[in-house]
Amino acid sequence: MAVLPLALSALTFFSFVAALSAPHFNGRWPLLDRLIASFVLSCSQIVVTELVLGWLGLLYRWPLVAANVAASGLLFYLAQSGAATLFGELTALRRSLGRLLREFPTIGLMASWLTLLVIYLAGVDWVLPTTDWDSLRYHLPIVVQMIQQHGIMEVPTDTVFINTYPKNFELMFLWWMLLSGSDQWVNATQIPFFLIALVIVYRLARLTDLSRQHSLFGALLLASAPVMLQQMMSTMIDLMFSTMAILAAWGFYRFVRGGEAYDLLLSGLAAGMAAGGKGNGVVWPVILGILVIIAALMRRRVNGRGHWLSAALLFGLPAFLLSFHWYAKNWWVYGNPIEPYQLTVLGQEVFKGDLNTYKYLVQEKLENLSPRVIENLPDERPPRDAIEAVWYAWHEPLFLFSAFGKLGGLGSPWFILLLPALPVAALLAWFTGRRTLWWLYAVLLPPFLLFLTHQWITRYGLFVLALGIVAFVALLDELPRLARPLRIVALVLFMVSSAHGSLNKEATPGKLRMYLALPPGERLSRAEGPYNVNHGTRELMRWWRGQDTEGSLLRYHAEDWIFTYPLWNPQFSNRVEYIPKVTDYEHWRLAAAPSDWLLLSNGSPEVAWTEMMGTYRKAYDDGSYVVYRNAR
């Protein structure tokens, strides 16, 4: 059923491309900008339709299809004239790209290599299930809970993130899983985001008036970041997040380069997608909002056009509408918009939470730095602060990368070529008069520095590659005598880093062979338990996969059970519910009684109470976990 989400995604995307190709826009928007704009508009349409259906409790496959076919079909009908010109433009783009690749074989080589990589990654996504920790812990359970509830609502859970995480990007996974009826290939959801990120980086460089050749060369360097490639093999959301972040920067950059109101609208949508997709994404609307007001005031002073308030509203409203509800709901339900994190300002606790952001995201990272990293430090002492830790981690003494990307993972081109290009290109811009580049720094540098000093995890900061690449491309353009050797070094580092970065510990020949031998519907996380769970959990997952769970209800209260996702069957046709802690038999009897299956911790009071009930038969016991089946 992969055809349905693919076809509907194409319809949604191309209806916007056609609409933006209508005469009203066409003259002012290059085709690539229209593709970028259509991407964020179609993502927003998907999120909004799912949100509305979710709130109404109508989150079923066919209402979702109907809503999107109606919206996109109508748009396509109204934009027929745009569609007619679009095919001609796409053909012209293909030809011009072909010419460019023939003219510059280096770019052709990189593009061919990248195409192979993407095909390989898509192939891995087809064969291997999701196994990473975050996905099985909350990203995918969030999605299946929505499918189970046919809506977006709070559910009893032992994983607070399932309820409190802002879910814009999980809604993208939901789009695939609800429409296709399976989680196969859901890992590939991030691939289109990567491809559009390439286009965005290219356009950012072109908007800085940099050459076509170098802009394309630079954009392809995006694939040299191992974490970027690893993300395409997982259902973590960080690649989507960074794409939306740079898309927001692109909209704003277009505005300051003489663009118009629509640009701010698109920037706002992208910032809203980012803020509504990840807690730390809130920095985007805040930083961009301030910059939008400053840019609008400066524009008014120079040419008397526009008003800062209208600019702020054009940017702020879509950003607000696509994100605020997640935080408002958390505030309403938990008394803390960023539950479970604690928020302190100047030492004063503003919102109470169980997790301290600094302690959780920085201190633990420092304490958990790899001994291998510490051994390599000059005097074998742990790093003094986050910056020093990141500096060492960027040396990446890693055998294999992962989507988690704790500290390293931006790749050797970043560390060797892009990082030093940042200050040099900023200074060079002053001498060469290309000062609009500073606006791009103003957007992308503050969040980067904020993450770097407060909660650096590589996958959070992938967006900085866009800035590094534009800075590097500016150097290639401005320093022509250095351009050739730099291109050669960049090419070599690109090839090595992308080849190394695409290796995944799960995608070994043995594992691929094992999964290929299974029918596609059986290539599930349940087939081979994730590598990072304890032995007992893996055994139970294997056993559970063999049970007939169609239409059944499993309830669980296993306090150290952390991965709920594998408890759903491949068709998501069973129900999985958490039973909150109860303190006595009577409550347990009421809570557990309607279940078909019960999953419990061995030796827990719940086991004793279940035995007392007499209606459940022990079906599985591995010493750690017990599963009971309703005997009736």
Partner: protein, 258 residues
């Protein structure tokens, strides 16, 4: 309004900035590729050392570990392994060598649990053996699994609970946070066997002693073996003491090729 720099200033500035950029990039290149050892190249190093008659004994506690292993971290002359370890063996071309000897011991000696190791060569399971607290030698015949490339040796450790209610040899009262459940978990965090970062396993051995994560607090325990027990605790859990250990830790002293 900013003054535009003159063309000679621009030229001088460009030269200066180009030199600065090149200097920085060269330094970072050397730092990245030369000063720091690249585990990516481990199999190549392994093959190279084989060709030129490298040692047949691989002391895991020394320099060798950095090159050829993942999942193994060093401490006090031994390699510590949490969960799985992957070792590239540098002896494919060594004529006559067909046996492998591994010295192992379990560092988790809590009664009620049994640790065993599964040994895989090139992803084929060749041996499974229990591992106790004392050093023991496990011999593996790898002759049938030799190939042209350095074979990979995987050591997978499993921890099995053999009694439901373990009793502890030594009582040691740990401080728990009020409100915490009365059981102890060695949390793994986001433990990833594939990356060096992930070697930041739940237990880190450093100069300050062994750090154990208990709930959200950290404790320092000075000596192996780590023996822990529940403190008396006012909780229903007291009736069902339960120790959840996610990752066993194993020490591996040497790998010899015979």
């Amino acid at each position: 309004m900013m003054m535009a720099p003159t063309s000679s200033t621009v030229t001088r500035a460009k030269r200066f900035l180009a030199a600065a950029y090149l200097g920085a990039a060269c330094y970072l290149f050397v730092s990245y590729w030369v000063l720091w050892e690249r585990p990516l190249l481990s199999p190549l190093f392994a093959a190279w050392e084989t060709q030129f008659g490298a040692t047949s004994e691989l002391p895991l506690g020394e320099h060798w570990t950095r090159h050829y292993t993942q999942g193994i971290r060093q401490s006090k002359g031994v390699g510590l392994i949490d969960g799985n370890a992957l070792v590239f063996l540098p002896f494919p071309a060594r004529s006559g060598a067909n046996k492998l000897e591994i010295e192992l011991r379990s560092l988790f000696a809590s009664p009620g649990y049994r640790t065993d190791v599964t040994i895989l060569i090139n992803d084929k399971r060749v041996r499974r053996a229990p591992v106790g607290y004392g050093w023991q030698t496990i011999e593996v015949d790898f002759a049938a699994n030799r190939g042209f490339m350095p074979p990979n040796l995987k050591l997978q450790f499993n921890l099995e609970k053999v009694s439901t209610v373990p009793r502890y040899a030594k009582e040691e009262v740990l401080q728990f946070n009020p409100g915490q459940e009365g059981f102890l978990i060695w949390r793994s965090g986001a433990w990833e066997p594939g990356s060096a970062e992930s070697l930041a396993a739940p237990i880190q051995v450093g100069r300050k002693g062994n750090i154990v994560t208990v709930g959200n607090e950290r404790l320092s325990l000075e000596n192996w073996p780590l023996t822990v027990a529940l403190a008396p605790w006012d909780s229903p859990r007291l009736r069902h003491p339960y120790l959840a250990v996610e990752l066993p830790t194993i020490a591996c002293r040497t790998i010899r090729v015979k």
